[in-house]
């Protein structure tokens, strides 16, 4: 937390769905600029609900969310949506335009960018994820791993302040998983990665938050949290068989 203004600051966030189910019970945390942070938690901990608050899709509960010093509210919404790039779990939901190019152009075009600058944004974003050759293909003709990468590109094209990834490694084969990790490491943005995939979190994120029962139950170095058996058991987090976080040397 070196930056003066944090990339993301959440305080006292509580939210209940209209059906009465309350998902968040006062969430507080802060992510500095350039950090890569993993958000860990069991199913039903409120991870997705929290993510939807980060760019103001869900509002109306108690508490505040601030992105780069800007509070998430109706007035700043357009700005917030540009600053917070969310990559959803299922790329089929994320990719809705007829071609990869149009899909990547959607975000910046919605922000009012046109013509040559728009093309430039699209090209850069696709190059960052290594998908420039597929610009004119329909997204649904790509492999799952490629679609996930295009989904990341659609968000990168908006040049976000913070990249939020919901289960980025789900359904990826090991090679695609590694390629995505390489891409994420190469990016110079703040990353919040929501995941069950603990080794992936350890590999990519120096810091981790544990969200459990709608509150932040732990916040610390990923390696230390994963090594804390008591904490892990309490919050239904399990490491894959034979994986020992203490034996991993971290590059990140």
């Amino acid at each position: 937390m070196d930056a003066v203004t944090a990339s993301l600051e959440v305080s006292g966030l509580a939210f209940a769905y209209p059906d009465g189910h309350q998902a968040l019970f006062g969430v507080d945390f802060r992510i500095g600029r350039g950090e890569r942070v993993a958000l860990l938690g069991p199913n039903g901990a409120g991870k997705t609900t929290l993510v939807l608050h980060l760019n103001g899709i869900l509002t109306g509960g108690a508490g505040t969310v601030t992105v780069a010093g800007l509070p998430v509210d109706k007035r700043n919404m357009a700005e917030i949506r540009r600053k917070v790039g969310i990559v959803f779990q299922d790329p089929d939901d994320q990719l809705f335009m007829p071609t990869v190019r149009e899909d990547v152009a959607f975000g910046p075009a919605a922000a009012g960018i046109k013509g040559a600058e728009l093309e430039e944004r699209v090209r850069t974003a696709l190059e960052l994820v290594g998908m420039a050759a597929f610009a004119d293909r329909p997204p649904h003709h790509l492999s799952f791993g490629q679609r996930r990468r295009v989904a990341v590109a659609t968000v990168l094209a908006m040049e976000p302040e913070i990249l939020v990834l919901d289960e980025p490694s789900s359904n990826l084969d090991p090679a695609s998983r590694r390629e995505l990790a390489d891409i994420l490491r190469s990016l110079d943005v703040t990353v919040l990665m929501v995941t069950h995939d603990l080794p992936y979190a350890l590999e990519l994120c120096p810091r981790a938050l544990v969200l459990s029962e709608g509150v932040i139950a732990a916040d610390g170095r990923t390696g230390e949290l994963l090594g804390d058996d008591e904490l892990m058991r309490t919050h239904r987090l399990e490491l894959p068989f034979g994986f020992d976080p203490r034996s991993v040397t971290m590059g990140a």
């Binding site: 939807l52 919404m77 949506r81 969310i86 959803f88 299922d90 075009a109 919605a110």
Partner: protein
């Protein structure tokens, strides 16, 4: 009234009609129908000429007559209504083959049939030579309020999702020997509708969240502009102008 909804509407092709910009075609089609509707019903020959005009367009678009005629079946419910008109309408009556028919009703039936058929044929030609996406762009160019264009484009996007779900559910129903036959079966149909809605809603909502997250704020960003040259406009508007001439003749003769 869904007989025609399941048909494949668009016929892929590269005819001169296919390549016209969509908004010119929309404008032409609409203008044509307006002209047809405002033609006096007594000018029977005018309607024949309109049909010839449409046939010429169909020929230029290489839309086979069979395809066009099959799509005209959508009209059947109103044909049924038109057929009844001479029986139920009031006023002066004539005897045709031993049936007492209302003169007014006969004229009314002719009016509805002729104008309705021409209108349907024009729409069918439009839909079979223009892709859905193009149509939406065309509507946007014609200054239809963006919100409406949005609703329409989402409708079409979700349409596939829903039809797929619906087909699956129908197959599931029918493979268990269910067939809707009367009032007793409404409950089943209605429950299907409820389930269908939830399924499609949740699917659509996820797409929507993704869009909103990328700055979607109610109007689709314009990525590729559609423009029409003067020549293209004049080609497209040839149809309604020709029709207008016929119509004016119809009023004066």
């Amino acid at each position: 009234m869904g007989a025609g909804h399941a048909h494949r509407l668009y016929r892929h092709g590269h005819s001169p009609v296919h390549t016209l910009p969509p908004h010119t075609k929309l404008a032409a089609c609409f203008a044509f129908v307006v002209v047809v509707v405002s033609t006096p019903r007594e000018a029977m020959w005018a309607f024949a000429l309109y049909a010839v005009l449409l046939a010429a367009v169909a020929y230029a678009a290489r839309v086979p007559a069979g395809f066009l005629l099959k799509r005209l079946l959508i009209e059947i419910p109103f044909v049924a209504f038109a057929v009844l008109m001479p029986f139920v309408a009031e006023g002066e009556r004539v005897d045709v083959l031993g049936l007492s028919l209302s003169v007014n009703g006969l004229w009314g039936a002719w009016n509805v049939l002729a104008k309705g058929t021409l209108g349907v044929a024009a729409s069918v030609l439009l839909a079979s030579t223009t892709e859905l996406r193009e149509l939406l762009l065309g509507l946007q160019r014609l200054k239809l309020p963006p919100l409406l264009v949005q609703i329409a484009s989402f409708m079409i996007r979700y349409g596939d999702v829903i039809t797929d779900e619906m087909r699956r559910m129908r197959i599931a129903r029918e493979s268990r020997g269910f067939e809707a036959r009367g009032v007793r079966h409404w409950g089943v149909l209605a429950k299907s509708a409820g389930a269908l809605f939830i399924r499609s809603y949740e699917r659509g909502e996820r797409v929507h969240l993704a869009m909103v997250s990328r700055g979607y704020a109610g109007s689709m960003p314009v990525i590729d502009e559609v423009t029409a040259s003067r020549a293209q406009w004049s080609h497209a508007l040839a149809l309604p102008f020709a029709a207008l001439v016929v119509c004016l003749l119809g009023w004066t003769l």
